[in-house]
Amino acid sequence: MTYRQARWDEPPIWDLAHAHAPEPAPAIPGVPERFRRREALRWPELSEPTVVRHYTRLSQMNFGIDSGVYPLGSCTMKYNPKLSELLARRPGAAQVHPYQPESTVQGSLEIAWRLERLLARITGFHEVSLQPAAGAHGEYTSLLMVKAHYRELGELERRTEVLLPDTAHGTNPASASMAGFVTREIPSKDGCVDLAALKAALSERTACFMLTNPNTAGLFESEILEISEAVHAAGAMLYYDGANLNAILGVTNPGRMGFDIAHLNLHKTFATPHGGGGPGAGVIGAGELLAPYLPVPRIAKRGRKFHLDYDRPKSIGKVKTAYGNFGLDLRAYAFILAHGEEGLRHVSRRAVLNSNYLAARLGRRLPRPFRPLVKHEFVLSGAPLRERGVRTLDLAKRLLDEGVHAPTVYFPTLVEEALMLELPETESKRELDAFAEAVGRALDDSPEHLKAAPTSCSVGRIDEVRAAREPVLSWKDLRTGASVKVETP
């Protein structure tokens, strides 16, 4: 495929208009003079067409899922249904304030209530809360609930450890440490949790074991029931990181596998757009034991009316203003309705079929570190590239020239020069084949070309070292030449 991304010489927005002389902001009656802005906001005064053209040009220098395949492992970059965009913009959805009287927001409350129930069935949990804003936020919220539980049992003093496999997403240890726990990594064996090592690490100090299943190597943790038994025997909680739920819809679920609590990323499995980095929605589900600690409010139904219930004495309180990212909850609700039960099963079957097909094809070109049967994603090692003096990073950049996005690279860290790939159910065999051919061309290309890549994007290879050594982080820095060196810790 020949590919050229747009390359506009578009100036930054502040260069699109003449700067005017700084003047004070208007005085407002009743506002003390001391509070009045002495120099009006420094930002250009532009016409609407100028602004629209500027950001349209920027959009043309950005690669989205509608532009081409996006094989980022663990990110589940699937097509975002246009239907969801339409629905989320209905005035009845968008032009509704969370502080309106409950009688005027019965529709939003009912949609949220129904979505919670659907997700409870999908995950096998007792209760679901839509409040957290993203996956990591859901992790943190869940760990606070675990803490609240142990505080009530009088065990918080001693249950200070969170265990996680060495394949865990970085958010897991970060959330655990934010929640005040000490983290301990459990080594993997053949890409999966080493049950003996886990058992040896579990103790009366363990609060929680955090696990993704299938894990980030794309492997299903087949010993999950034994893991669950061991964790519970130690009196600890089992946490499910739902980032990889797309592989197991209707096949199994965290409740059935013995997990006590979980977060889901609606922007992965349920196709809400990721927005260039966010927003997300980090729904959490909890079994009976932990459900009383869920954040308030809970949505309750009395007769035919829905209301926000704050009478949950064990609740940890709030983690976000208002109740959840409703705009995304609505999109996920539409996604589930459209698929129905059979459709959701088909999602996982096809995602796993795509992944195994592509893994088999690409496995002929690059080593696959673990057992062949994978779930929705798989890992390759770019280590052999080293013999030609190139690295996984060069391959990733070269793939950008093929009109596709690059896979996740250098994760999981237990695989040398790792590439982690996921092409979900919305990708056709034609796209899979074209992607495999693109990888083949990239691998066959000369080391010089690989190192010079990309050449088809709006810019060439970016100097990331300079960005970090001499941080220039705003227009003000550019204007004042303030690239003050920042000490590396």
Binding site: A133, A174, N265, H346, A360
Partner: protein, 459 residues
């Protein structure tokens, strides 16, 4: 079958054949039998038209803001957003992209985020902004943890007037490392900070940070914010500021704030029943290594041309894991785009004039309500901007709101924490005229409030 799952002619058969299997079910043999599911009862698939009909039927039970004279505000605003904002945010090159981990393919979003960071730097008056956090409340929570990284201590001071939701979120961010959020009482007449309490607390040497908000939870502008830095000395100073107010108010960086956070939803993001919102965060340059969340930096490409990339990533969870400054990964990039497009379309003069007009509406309504027997408005004797506190001499906030709702007025929202039940004293509401209300709606509000005050028990 759902159209969104790929179903090109015979392709699934070809995939199965290539793998030498008869059914995709064979790919799940590694899932233990005891963990397998039966039916979940999720219902049958629906056609797109049926989904639309079902969702519309449910949304029909909402009464959107357009049906009311709207005086709801607080941290979530109801701005009019020029159509151009949604047109840009709706471009799928932006909304359907992932985090710009491959900067060469993602310059558009990176540049937009760099412009967003630049705008928050200009508005806040501090040096470095990140590329967004979840919402204003969680941004305040991150600011609390940030302060603790800069300074020893266990106590974090916040105004007692802080909205209860924000206080609760802060307590949850503090509870991880076992820190304490402590309320600074307010003067009952003015609603402003009791600086005597702050001085006494600081003298005990255990305060690691203080957050003040502008406008505060009662809608007030507290001039003492200009004196706090001198009192705090080395103790980090956080200001939570409404971005629209900063079009006319002195930037907090100018009076010593070390961190400026805020809720950015008011800039071009519909209220959507409370989310997605937009967390704003900026800090001083010397503290950037302690900042949470993604940051975009300017650099050059291999040909020396200007280029942008995520930078200073060694602070972040995907590299630093348990030692990261925060667990945040997904942020609110698309909302940050809406924020900068909104401000650019409206322009600095437009923002200042919008804020002036909201302030005028608030003054008009407050003085009309203040003239009604049984109501106190504005409740506090202090300057305010676009929102004010209304106190009911008798009756309940719920009753007042319900009566006005029947007159198609969203009259404000109660300040009390619903977990605690009705407060013992008179009930208070925060009232914030939205841009869509004019003289007529203000007069209707005043008339309905007068009728209520005359007979709070009636319908």
């Amino acid at each position: 079958m759902v159209r969104w799952i790929s179903d090109e002619a015979g392709e699934e058969e070809a995939l199965l054949q290539a793998l030498g299997i008869a059914s995709a079910d064979e790919l799940f043999q590694d899932v233990p039998k005891k963990a397998r599911l039966g039916r979940l009862g999720l219902g049958a698939a629906k056609e797109e038209a049926e989904v639309v009909a079902e969702v519309d039927r449910l949304l029909e039970r909402n009464r959107p803001l357009g049906r009311f004279a709207n005086f709801l505000g607080g941290r979530i605003a109801c701005p009019y957003s020029p159509a151009a904002v949604d047109a840009i945010v709706s471009r799928s090159e932006f909304y359907s992209a992932y985090t710009p981990y491959q900067p060469e393919a993602s310059q558009g979003m990176l540049r937009a985020l760099f412009e967003f960071q630049s705008l928050w730097v200009e508005l806040s008056g501090v040096d470095v902004a990140n590329a967004s956090l979840y919402d204003g409340a969680s941004a305040a929570g991150e600011a609390l943890l940030f302060c603790r990284r800069l300074h020893e201590g266990h106590r974090f001071l916040v105004p007692a007037s802080l909205p209860w939701e924000e206080r609760s979120v802060l307590e949850n961010y503090a509870s991880g490392p076992g820190l304490k959020v402590e309320a600074i009482p307010f003067d009952p007449r003015t609603g402003l900070l009791d600086l005597g309490f702050v001085k006494a607390a600081l003298a005990q040497q255990d305060v690691f940070g203080l957050l003040a908000d502008v406008p505060n939870g009662f809608g007030l502008l507290d001039e003492q914010l200009f004196e706090l830095k001198a009192l705090l000395g080395e103790v980090p100073y956080v200001v939570a500021a409404d971005p629209l107010s900063l079009s006319v108010l002195e930037p907090p960086g100018a009076y010593g704030a070390d961190v400026v956070v805020g809720e950015g939803q008011g800039f071009g993001i519909p209220p959507s029943f409370g989310g997605p919102l937009l967390g704003l965060f900026a800090c001083r340059r010397e503290h950037v290594r302690q900042a949470p969340g993604r940051i975009v930096g300017a650099t050059v490409d291999a040909y020396g041309r200007p280029a942008f990339t995520l930078t200073l990533q060694t602070r972040e969870q995907h590299i630093r894991r348990s030692k990261a400054t925060s667990n945040i990964c997904t942020n609110e990039s698309l909302m940050a785009l809406a924020f900068v497009v909104y401000a650019s379309v409206v322009g600095p003069k437009g923002l200042a004039s919008l804020q002036s007009s909201l302030a005028e509406k608030a003054r008009t309504l407050a003085s009309a309500l203040g003239a009604i027997e049984g109501l106190r408005a504005p409740r506090f004797d202090a300057p305010y901007l676009g929102e004010f506190t209304l106190e009911l001499g008798r009756g309940t906030a719920a009753g007042f709101l319900d009566r006005l709702r029947r007159r198609r007025i969203l009259a404000g929202h109660p300040l009390a924490d619903p977990r605690v039940g009705a407060p013992s004293g008179p009930e208070r509401l925060l009232v914030a005229p939205s841009p869509s209300v004019g003289e007529k709606e203000i007069a209707r509000y005043a008339a309905a409030a007068k009728a209520w005050a005359a007979a709070p028990g009636g319908r």
